[in-house]
Structures are given as C-alpha cells and as structure tokens.
C-alpha cells in the first residue's frame, strides 16, 4: 500500500517530502492504527496524516488519538480530522464532578449550524465507507485569547483602561455567539479559556471544540454561562488571582487578609472573584457582574441575555472613564 500513498502524494502534492509512506484508510474505525504518513480518504478527498493532536495541561501532553493533524492533499491546506470516539467521563469542575459525554454527532451538527459564522471554528462532516462520521475542520491560525491578554506587558490599570474595553466588545460578540447556539437548543459544552482564540490578521475571536455534552438538567445553559463568567473574570483581572499568588503580584499581606469566603469563585474555591478589592478602579457595576459567579451570589444568570444585559452597560462605563 505504501507505493500507492507515495504515488498519491507525488501526484497531488509534488513538493511534499515525507519520511514514511503509510496506508490509505477509507474506514476510520480503528483510529489508533492511523498514524504519520497514512492517508485518510473521505468522499474522494485525501488527507495525509501528520500527527495525533494532543492536549497540553500542566506540562503534560495527553494524546488525542482520534484527532489527526492532516494536510488536505488536493489543496495543500492543513486540516484537523476528528474521528469517531464516544466517551463518558467525570468532568471535574472545582468541587463538582459531572458526567460528561463526547459526542461527534453533536459537534458535526453544530458545524452545520454555524457554517460561515466566523465566531466559530469552521468545518463540515462526511461519512467514511463504514459509516463513521468524520469532522473535517479548518485550522485557526492564531493565539489563545487568554495567552494574548496575559502577555500584554502593561500594568493592570493601563490594561484596564486602554485594552479591556476593546477586548470586552469582542467578548460580547463571543457571548452572542453562544446565545445563538442556545437559541437553537444547542450548547457549547466546554467554554474555557483555551477554547476562545484570536485569529491572526482579522483579530476575530473564535470558539473551538464543541463536542462535549451532558445529561439534561433543569437549566441546560448553566454550564456555558458559568464558563463565560469565568472567562470574564480572567479578562477583567488579566489573569487568575488566588491568595497564593497575590504576594508575587505585589499585593500586601493586608490586601490578602481582606478577603473572605464570599469573595471567591462559586466553583473554584481558591479563585478570587471580587477583583475590586485588588483594583479599586474597577466600577462597582462590573464587579457586581463578576460577583454573580462568586460564593456570595444568591441570584444566578439563567440566560446569556441576562448576563449581557448587565455586562454591556459596564463596557460603556469603562470606556467613558
């Protein structure tokens, strides 16, 4: 079979040099066997596999064998192919653990729903010869929003007044994108800092990875809204603050002593939500929006609209100040 792949690569991408020539796969069921140098053929299109995708956290690489980084041989463009992998696992959210399901069908459906809506990653799905649904996704060239924000080399006060209003304007649009999903009875399911990217060139914010789903509860959008809130807390603070990193950020022991249980995240017990105690120039109104995600909260946002109704005026206020 190697010879066949070699011929295919030569015909479609003559400039590509490849150390190994693998097999052609029209059935992706055994995704563990598909690796570097193999070609996945779907719908008469050919995707040369470069490597398995990996998730990196705390310096550890966790390979995702069902996600392949590829080159689309017909165009030379990079693509990510997500193959069928059903999984149920317990997702840890601070002190809570909830059953979470990975659903290829859900992500494929959302890719259709958000076609040409560039607030989301773009792609489409096709079936392989065995009927496995394969998601073919365009690679976003860009940077994680949180990395961009964290790496801005300005003091917080300058960041808050000069950078944050524009960031929040775009974040608002990202929230509206999530509302669009909710309006269509869909959820993102995995809103976290590394799933919102800034695209190089356009500067557009784009959501990625929406294959997580959950057992329905009375408020199916709660998880997404909490994710948006946690992201907002990061953006306003320019980073995550905990009692243990305050000293390294130049805050005095007196500042640290002023915090009580109500000032921390409802889910992540060590994360400071009451940022106004650190940065008194944060307007009360904006801080109150943050505090809806704190231990002190008694009333919760049930929809993105409720969240935005309180957040939007705050952006105007920061701009004016």
């Amino acid at each position: 079979m190697s010879h066949e792949v070699k011929e295919l690569v030569k015909r479609l991408r003559p400039s590509l040099s490849l150390g190994e020539y693998g097999k052609i796969f029209t059935d992706t069921t055994s995704y563990m066997n598909i690796s570097y140098g193999d070609v996945i053929e779907i719908d008469n299109q050919h995707y040369l596999v470069l490597r398995d995708e990996a998730e990196r956290s705390f310096g550890i690489e966790d390979p995702k064998y069902w996600v392949k980084r590829c080159i689309h041989l017909e165009t030379g463009e990079r693509r990510i192919l997500k193959l069928v992998f059903h999984e149920k696992f317990m997702l840890k959210l601070g002190s809570l653990e909830i059953p979470c399901y990975r659903s290829p069908e859900k992500e494929a459906r959302i890719l259709d729903l958000v076609r040409d809506d560039l607030r989301f990653m773009q792609g489409f799905s096709r079936f392989d010869k065995k009927g496995n649904i394969v998601r073919i996704i365009q690679v976003i060239k860009g940077k994680r929003l949180d990395h961009h924000v964290f790496e801005l080399e300005v003091p917080h006060r300058d960041y808050f007044h000069e950078h944050l209003p524009a960031i929040l304007e775009k974040f608002l649009d990202s929230c509206l994108a999530i509302r669009y999903l909710h309006d269509h009875q869909e959820i993102h399911g995995d809103i976290r800092r590394d799933h919102l990217w800034i695209e190089h060139g356009s500067g557009r914010y784009r959501w990625i990875d929406f294959d997580y789903t959950y057992e329905f509860e009375e408020n199916p959008f709660g998880l997404d809204i909490f994710g948006l809130g946690s992201l907002l807390i990061f953006l306003v603070g320019k980073q995550i603050y905990t009692l243990s990193n305050l000293a390294s950020q130049g805050f005095s022991p007196d500042t640290a002593a002023a915090f009580n249980q109500g000032d921390f995240s409802l889910l992540y017990k060590n994360r400071i939500v009451n940022l106004r105690k650190l940065f008194p120039y944060i307007p009360e109104k904006l801080n109150l929006v943050l505090m809806h995600f704190s231990n002190r909260a008694e009333i919760f946002y049930e929809s993105v609209d409720e969240f935005l109704a309180e957040l939007e005026p705050c952006i105007k206020e920061i701009k004016k100040s």
């Binding site: 059903h86 149920k88 959210l93 601070g94 002190s95 809570l96 909830i98 399901y101 659903s103 069908e105 859900k106 009875q185 789903t213 057992e215 329905f216 509860e217 009375e218 408020n219 199916p220 709660g222 998880l223 809204i225 909490f226 409802l266 889910l267 995600f293 231990n295 909260a297 008694e298 919760f300 049930e302």
Partner: protein, 150 residues
Amino acid sequence: MNLKKILIAADASENAKRAAAYVGEIIGPRKDFEIEILYVLRYPDRDLFPDADAWENKKDEERKKAQEVLSGLSTVLEEKGIPVSAISTVSKEAKGFSIAQAILEYQQQNGFGTIVVGRRGVSKAEEFLFGSVSNKIVHYARDCAVWVIE
C-alpha cells in the same frame, strides 16, 4: 383554581415519596379532594448514545421507570387512606428542556390549585449549573399554592 385539586410532581427520588406521604398524611380519607400524580419524562439526549438502539432502549427504560414510580406513589397515598377513586396518575413527555415548565403548563391547563413537589436540596453551585425544578416552580407558579417537601 381549585385548591382541592392537588398535583404531585413525581420523579424517582425519595423526595417524591416524602411528598406523596405528606399529602397522604394531610388529606387522609377525606373525599372532597382530587389528587393527580404527574411524572414528566425527559428523555436523555440522543447525543449521549453511540447508536439509535442504545438510545431507544434507554427511552423504554425511562418509560417503565415512570410507570413504576407512579404506581409506587399511588400505593403510598392509598396506604395513607386516600380513596382509590380520588387518585389518578399521568406521565407526559417534556417538550422542551424544563420539567418545571411542563409541570406548570399541566397545572394551568387542568386547573390544579395546589402543586406538591419534593426538594432534593442542591448546593448553590449545583443550582447555578443545573438549575432546580422545585425552585423554578416556586418562582414561576401563578394562581396556586406550592407545597415544597424536603
């Protein structure tokens, strides 16, 4: 609304049993009450299952569970002396996400003056993330009394 028309919102929890037992205790053998036990079926989403067969099997299981719960709660009421003729049961499929909304719609359409619901007691974080049927009923109920049994 007729306060003597009582709707018990049922699920498979111990709280629902407690709610039924409470109603049985309060009403006892009195004959001028009507009590209906409602089980709202919310099927798990198709996305949670690798194939359609597994999903259909789960839905069958859910329907059976609903019937068992309704029959079990009827027995609880009967054992407290409520006449069999005063008890009815019904299961309905939720059209949207919200069980609370389905309960309230049924209450409005059928003129129940009292809703009885068990409460499992969730943490604040759980309420934010997942919501609470009993809290939603308390919040949105109109023209009726709501008994929340813990």
